[in-house]
């Protein structure tokens, strides 16, 4: 939890830095690279943001980017290259920025003061850092003792200042890099010149970089991801293997017979892997009695806050969930602007619609509430409308439940679904509509319902939604039924349930002891009709149910069957808010 929190807590400052860079460069589509950021102090970070923006405005940044990428692929250290480029181009760029924005002079002074103060605490062998400090001290007219390498590099960098042409400038950077930061370690003490030639041939022609394209995800990283997930699955599978008394029917009907004495064991495992329940046993039993009927006759429900928030001892699972959380947050960050825009749009639109609907109309009429200052009309004028009738347009308040399918089939969309849910929850919370976010999946005969946020939870709890991860089966009908139980208890007049699913309810069939009349497993037509039944039952009880389809095109029919005309198929996350707005507006206005 700590790692993710650190990125997130510092996020507001990071956002300030990005904004400052955008202000100076004027280009909101650019992002700062980590090699351009400074962590020495706040003032230095702010100043680095200004120069980063300036570089993008006054230097041909597209060429520079292409150059960096091509060199990165050839094995250069990206941070060193960026550091050299920043230092080489700074003087060129700084004066231009200050001419345009006089206030930058003060920002720079504060940064320099901090760096100067930091210098005497600095004990670094890092050549780049030493040169950075040296250049700044020179600009501040303070002379210090430098070792010969640092001094030489400093002189070379300062010489670059005069190169206005970008390609010329980059050539200079290349030469400096080759001279001071060797690419490969010489293995057998061979001549430095030889290794340089080797490096030259690997690099290819300098102008090659102009033609190369941007690269995608680092393949290494996704390999690690996959192996961790496999491991997690294996462990889960292992636990199923431990149920030595379980007779698995290998046939297609996927029916499981479980002995009574294993019930306790199963419950312990479920609590161990998914987190402890937040409801006392009696409540759970009551809920089960009411909800686990018919198709779900022998099922059970487990309501939990998840391993990270419910005192679990399962360290491995905690690490796994944290890893998923980090992954989700990374995707979120990558699409941060789009998401923020969606949240804003949704929030504005909802608040407008809600405010409109709450207006009370006072209509002059001849019955209703008396208006004293119109009384003179009696007997004097033909207009007898001395009353007002108050027409209350008030629709009543709203409450929303968001239910996310957390089964394994959603895994490929995991981050996207988490983001969609987050957008909805943020907008609703900001507008002041109480909302709850739940995830459901099935493990053996348990349908586990994980609570990410509760109705009255504060805005910050919406971050919990990024804990969303997919594994197991899904018994949609039961999950919907269980959710509605709580939703019906709320006193708001308008209840809305939004289900994010892929139209594929799929669970094993559970029987106990001697029961022999087991039918098919919970999937295909059986499951779809059961889920559809639950949706309509919920609607009959006054809950408005909307399905948000996150699955494959081929399952669209199933989704339509289940949710009727109230469902949204969203292919592009940019359109997410618009579609949901349309639906919610319809509901609120009617």
């Amino acid at each position: 939890m700590k790692d993710a929190k650190w990125i997130y807590e510092d996020y507001e400052f990071d956002n300030r830095i990005s904004n400052l860079m955008w202000t100076v460069s004027g280009d909101y589509d650019e992002n700062m690279d980590s090699g351009e950021k400074s962590y020495i102090s706040e003032n230095v970070a702010l100043y680095h943001a200004v120069t980063a923006g300036g570089r993008r405005k006054f230097v041909d940044w597209t060429k520079v980017k292409k150059y960096i990428i091509s060199r990165y692929r050839a094995g250069f250290d990206k941070d060193i290259i960026l550091g050299l480029i920043s230092m080489g181009s700074d003087v060129l760029v700084e004066e231009k920025i200050i001419a345009e924005r006089p206030g930058v002079y003060d920002i720079r002074k504060k940064a320099y003061d901090d760096i100067f103060a930091n210098y005497y605490k600095l004990h670094t062998e890092n050549l780049l850092e030493k040169v950075e400090h040296a250049i700044i001290l020179e600009k501040m007219d303070k002379s210090v003792m430098l070792d010969s390498e640092t001094s030489k590099l400093k002189k070379d960098l300062l010489k670059l200042q005069n190169r206005e042409d970008t390609v010329d400038f980059l050539k200079g950077i290349e030469d400096i890099y080759m001279e001071y930061f060797p690419l490969f370690v010489e293995e057998d003490g061979s001549d430095r010149k030889d290794s340089k030639d080797k490096q030259n041939s690997l690099r290819g022609d300098f102008s090659d970089f102009m033609l190369e394209e941007l690269y995608e995800d680092d393949p290494e990283e996704s390999e690690i991801e996959a192996s961790v997930e496999e491991l997690a699955d294996a462990l889960l599978g292992e636990s199923q293997g431990e149920m030595s008394n379980v007779n698995k029917n290998e046939g297609n009907s996927r029916v499981l017979k479980v002995q009574e004495e294993d019930l306790e064991k199963i419950y312990e495992k479920v609590a161990y892997y998914y987190g402890n329940s937040f409801l006392p046993i009696s409540e759970v039993k009551k809920l089960q009695n009411q909800v686990c009927q018919g198709e779900h006759g022998n099922c059970r429900i487990h309501m939990t806050d998840g391993v990270l928030r419910s005192d679990s001892k399962n360290e491995f699972q905690q690490k796994y969930v944290k890893r998923q959380q980090t992954k989700n947050i990374e995707v979120f960050r990558a699409n941060f602007k789009v998401c923020k825009r969606n949240v804003n749009k949704l929030k504005e639109s909802m608040s407008r619609t809600l405010v409109q609907e709450e207006i009370m109309d006072a209509i002059p009429s001849d019955a209703g509430q008396l208006v004293a200052n119109k009384l003179w009309r009696i007997n004097r004028s033909s207009n007898h409308k001395v009353f007002v009738k108050n027409i209350d347009n008030n629709k009543g308040s709203f409450v929303v439940d968001i239910l996310m399918d957390s089964s394994g089939s959603q895994r490929r969309n995991q981050s996207r679904v988490a983001i969609q849910s987050y957008i909805l929850a943020q907008a609703l919370t900001l507008v002041g509509i109480p909302n709850r976010v739940l995830g459901f999946s099935s493990f053996l005969d348990y349908t586990v319902i994980k609570r990410f946020r509760d109705y009255e939870s504060p805005l910050s709890t919406n971050d919990n939604i990024f804990e969303y991860y997919c594994s197991g089966n899904n018994r949609d009908g039961l999950a919907i039924k269980a959710t509605c139980e709580d939703l019906l208890k709320r006193r708001e007049e308008n209840k809305i349930l939004i289900v994010l699913s892929d139209g594929r309810p799929n669970d094993i069939k559970v029987g106990k002891g001697q029961v022999n009349d087991l039918k098919e497993a919970y999937r295909g037509r059986v499951a779809i009709s059961d889920t559809a039944k639950e949706v309509r039952f919920a609607r009959q009880q006054g809950i408005l149910v909307l399905g948000v389809f996150t699955g494959k095109e081929q399952d669209l029919m199933a989704e339509k069957l289940i949710y009727g005309k109230d469902f949204a198929y969203i292919k592009d996350i940019n359109r997410f808010a618009d579609m949901v707005i349309k639906y919610l507006k319809q509901i609120i206005a009617n």
Binding site: N19, T23, R101, G103, I107, S351, V355, S382, N383
Partner: protein, 307 residues
């Protein structure tokens, strides 16, 4: 006439202005109503928008000015009234505005029942220009009485009153902000009766003209920095990084006025720009922008040399 000269300078077609002159001379104005004609200090800057307004009004159409806040909609409405030399009746639509405040209602004065005329009634009989402020905040029943006045019929026919035929020179100018909470979608039939003019967000050139107009004695190199603050924030808001609260031309103009009065620039801008938003993080971002433009050490005399 000063206004005509300003418009000629902006590049408005001479023939249009000649037609306006003809309009002014054709429709006489009662002496008593002369003080209802606005006397504006500032002139709206925007050649195309002016052309649109003038031609629409000359052809007998009504005009709806729509746009974000502080873009000059009311200034333009006042300018139009002055240009055409017609008296103005201003109605600010809000939740309590209903048909009686527009057309009129019975009142009891001096032991007698008299008709208190509403703004629309006055415009109709005197050939005035009616300005409807924030027309999209109006209730539907308030506006329905206007439908017959706004289209080809040009008549107000409300039961209980005599039928009023509109004076030939009567026009109606609506203004509205859109997309803020509390604003409604305008009734389509109503919009159909107006020529809608989108007043765009302010651009750099226009901004400098406006600021120079207000502060002709400001330092030539520093005044653009204030314009820059507005433009930077406008861009940021367009990219959804901040809300529209700090993007306020009135704020910038107000700050400059207080600097002219002797307030330190940093403090003035704090009042006029940063203070408009109440979100802590937004304040920081806005302040960062300002700090790149305004130096802490600046004094009022740096901005207005002859203080």
């Amino acid at each position: 006439m000063r206004l005509t000269e300003e418009l000629l300078k902006q590049g408005i077609n001479e023939k249009l202005l000649a037609d306006v002159k003809h309009f002014r001379e054709f429709y006489k104005l009662d002496e008593k109503l002369q003080d209802r004609v606005p006397n504006t200090e500032n002139v709206f800057y925007g050649k195309d928008i002016w052309a649109m307004c003038i031609t629409a009004i000359l052809e007998g159409e009504n005009v709806l000015l729509s746009g974000p806040k502080a873009t000059g909609k009311n200034v333009l409405a006042d300018n139009i009234c002055e240009l055409f030399n017609r008296p103005q009746w201003n109605t600010s639509f809000h939740v309590n505005t209903d048909s009686t405040s527009l057309i009129g209602t019975d009142t009891f004065i001096d032991n007698e029942v008299k008709l208190r005329r509403g703004s629309v009634y006055e415009c109709a009989i005197n050939g005035g220009f009616g300005v409807f402020d924030e027309i999209n905040m109006a209730k539907n029943d308030a506006l329905v009485v206007l439908h017959s006045a706004l289209d080809y019929r040009k008549v107000i026919d409300v039961p209980g009153y005599e039928k009023i035929k509109l004076h030939e020179a009567t026009r109606f100018i609506g203004t509205m902000n859109y997309e803020y909470a509390g604003t409604k979608e305008l009734n389509e039939a109503l919009v159909s009766r107006f020529m809608t003019i989108d007043i765009p967000q302010i651009e750099e050139e226009t901004l400098m003209v406006i600021l120079k107009g207000y502060f002709p004695d400001a330092n030539e190199e520093i005044l653009p920095q204030f314009a820059g603050i507005f433009l930077d924030l406008q861009e940021k808001s367009k990219n959804s990084e901040i809300s529209t609260k700090s993007v306020d031309l009135r704020g910038i103009i107000g700050s400059l006025k207080t600097i002219r009065r002797g307030l330190k620039p940093m403090l003035a801008v704090d009042m006029g720009v940063v203070g408009k938003t109440f979100d802590q993080y937004e304040k920081e971002i806005v302040l960062d922008v300002i700090k790149t433009r305004i130096r802490e050490s600046w004094e009022p005399s740096d901005v207005f040399g002859n203080l």
